[in-house]
Amino acid sequence: MKANKISDYKDYKDLFIKTASSYLSDLKRGLEHLASDNRDQETIKKMHLSSHNIKSESLLMNFPQTANTCYLIEDIFYKIIKNQLNISKELIFLLNQVFLKLDKSLISIKNENKEADFSEEIEKLKQITV
């Protein structure tokens, strides 16, 4: 997945950090809820929306690994909504790990303008979505 150049978009960084962090908080809260009730459709849809929005923002800000990671999370929830995928304990564990990494990545972006390396997480998420 390609991302756009950010040279024109420096001013958007603060808003990106603020909104992406908010969506990530929604994802973490949602995951906690799904751990006890994995059939809550409202939570699942909200998590689909949140991952979609972080993906969209990351594409515009030229953070391709973050975008690819969140695209895969979005796809996972899309498949859950379509009853093509079940929420397992393994999936919850993996998503928890990914969300922790996303947290660290946003801090890195805020302080160093550099996203984390999500290669390992992307491969694990791809195993789920295939």
Binding site: K2, L15, F16, T19, L49, N53, S56, L59, Y71, D75
Partner: protein
């Protein structure tokens, strides 16, 4: 030329609005489908740019509602999509969307060209 942008994400809303305004368009925004339909009736935009993934009423439902309104169905609609979900693009076009923009390879000049092409029709 007046554009209604229906997009829930504040960052994306600001980004696309800013680029469109710089290009000389008048831009109104809505953060969800219901608000989008309400504003479309109020301001009668020349074109609607619509994200499919929205809270509450999604983009498909918005397209359905637009198509059943005698006034609103005449407004051209461009949808945002993700390339890997091509079935969503097909569905959107069946529901009345005239074109789409792939967010994963967004290029403003392409969006601008699509807007101008649709409004000329």
């Amino acid at each position: 030329m007046r554009i209604l942008l229906i997009e829930d994400d504040l960052f994306s809303q600001k980004f696309y609005s800013s680029k469109l305004k710089e290009a000389g368009f008048e831009v109104k925004t809505a953060s969800d489908g219901e608000e989008g339909l309400k504003k479309a009736k109020e301001i009668n935009p020349d074109i609607i740019i619509l994200d499919i993934i929205l809270p509450g009423k999604d983009g498909f439902e918005v397209l359905q509602s637009l198509s059943t309104d005698d006034k609103l169905k005449k407004i051209p609609v461009i949808v945002f999509s993700t390339l890997e979900q091509e079935q969503d693009v097909s569905k959107a076009k069946q529901l009345g969307a005239l074109d789409y923009i792939d967010k994963s390879s967004f290029d403003f000049k392409t969006l601008q060209a699509k807007i101008l092409a649709l409004v000329k029709k």
